[in-house]
Amino acid sequence: MTPVPQSLAAQSPTAPSPTPQSVAAPRSIVEFHGVSKWYGNVIGINKLTLRVPVGVTGLLGPNGAGKSTFLQLATGQLYASQGKIRVLGQPVWNNSAINRQIGLCPEQDAFYEWMTGWDFVHTSARLAGLSRAAARDATERTLDAVGMTQYQGRAVRGYSKGMRQRTKLAQSLVHDPQVLFLDEPLTGTDPVARHDLMTIIQRLGSEGKSVLVSSHVLHEVQTLTPNIILLNHGRLVAEGNVRDIRDLIDEHPHHIVLICDEYRRLAGRILSWDDVEGVRVLAKEKGLMVETHKPDAFYSRLPQLSLEDGLAIKEVYSDDDSLESVFKYLVNK
């Protein structure tokens, strides 16, 4: 894990802007130079300078760290109060042409609810400027790619959280962008959908797409990529290889919330696992809060538990206390 000052010193923020030729094969997909973003008196991003390299990168940080602001700035939805932002070598604010190269899977669970999944993705393709025939082809391919073909005729309003996340991912992919921004794509999904979505994201990376995945759960991101950027309170805490902060993470117990109708049976099953140190019943939410020091092993067993034991886990999310404590450690170091 490279601490911030050294890491940034190694880069060259003052490098000349890429020429049109270099845009085709940029060294970095996103460049922030001294970027700040204020919402009135609240700071969203604070003098942030960084480069997101080509490939898959994880954008990590607890809630309120500035991840969504970062992505909204990078996709031209927000204007930087200070500093410069370039994506693929081009400025993003009011530069609609760059959107041909960008796909965004937003965090908010918002849709045109009256549409079917197919209609939603097809409309996204048409909004991206694809002809009718091209949009139809791209929609079918993309829905197939995210495993939604069999549900494509159903109205979005009837979709589960996992289906909605897959559909959102499909709309971000449908115009075949060069760069993908995924804002908390795994939040609230069940273990199987989570596993599938991770597989899709990994595959996108292996096929040459640059993907920036934001999350507040380190263990989600490290499965996808070793390259991470850590943000906290709008500042860059660290960037580099994920392995270097693993030890820090493991010093702290990890809390994972599982939502399941049969939460008591689930508790009995989970307590037999050696790496589980405690389980708290959340009767009101119909769920459990599991404490573990080996979150990797725990997460990897969840899909099987869902499939083999017939325990329908509706939602998995992580309390980011552990990550927060690592951030505190890094900031105070």
């Binding site: 009011n94 041909r100 991206a128 694809l130 790619a145 589960s160 992919l173 199987v192």
Partner: protein, 305 residues
Amino acid sequence: MTAPVAESPTRTMTPALARRPPASSRLIALWSVYVLTLRQHLHGKRWMVIAGMCLLCVGLVVLVRATALDFPPLMLEFNFGFMFIPQAVLPLIALIYASGIVQDEQEEQTMTYLLIRPIPKWALYSAKLFATLTTTVILVVGLTALTYAAVYLGSKTGIKEASYRALQAAAIHSLAVVAYCCLFGLISLLTKRILIVGILYALFLEGLLANMPFSIRLATVIYYTRLIAYRSMSFVSAVPGNPDRTTDVAAEIWQLDVHTDPALLDHPQMRTCLIVLLVACAACSVLAALLFSQREFHVKTPEKA
């Protein structure tokens, strides 16, 4: 959720956009925004309010005709087609639809899906405004046709004459609703309380001040549409209860002094009225598109995350 993940999500995806020139691609995108907005109008609940207003208007006409058999159709047409509809219904239709051009997408958090497309923001607003104008004009033409049918069906007035008057009224109402939409679209970008501001505007400016014989009415939409109507249509009607006497009902109620100024030379000509309304529409639209293009649309992180 146990759907299988298919092989290779993007390997076979052809870079369709790379082959397509940006201009045609942009036109497709804009057309899609236009169609999407029309579909949103169809799926919303606004049309229920509009249907209610139509029923109210037609129902009142039928009620008057049923209870006051000697009431002249032209006077009925004036009261509903040129008083009730332009004063109450048109601003409301425009307000209901134009207020949602931006705010609906913001409230439902779907604006992101539009902003991340290769469409300039000003063009995005323009396409949504154009779709709103389409919807409101269709509604207004339908409402006018129904009202005129209720007024003239079974009356002594010939179908040809009634149809012609309905056509003229529909054109004037369409012009008015277009102007209101452009204006309310702009106001909706300036304030979050567009419904309150819009209702106050319709009540005081278009309702109260426009009916006063002062020059302030030159700043209202309704004044110009009234002049266009007055200069293109006749509103001389028999007096109810006294068929031998006639009255110029429009001049009387709209405070147009036809006694001292029979040709209304103190008032703008029809051509000027048209130009004023169209220029006002264009100015409001351009200003709103510029405002929209400079606006940020911050989406707050959902609570649960």
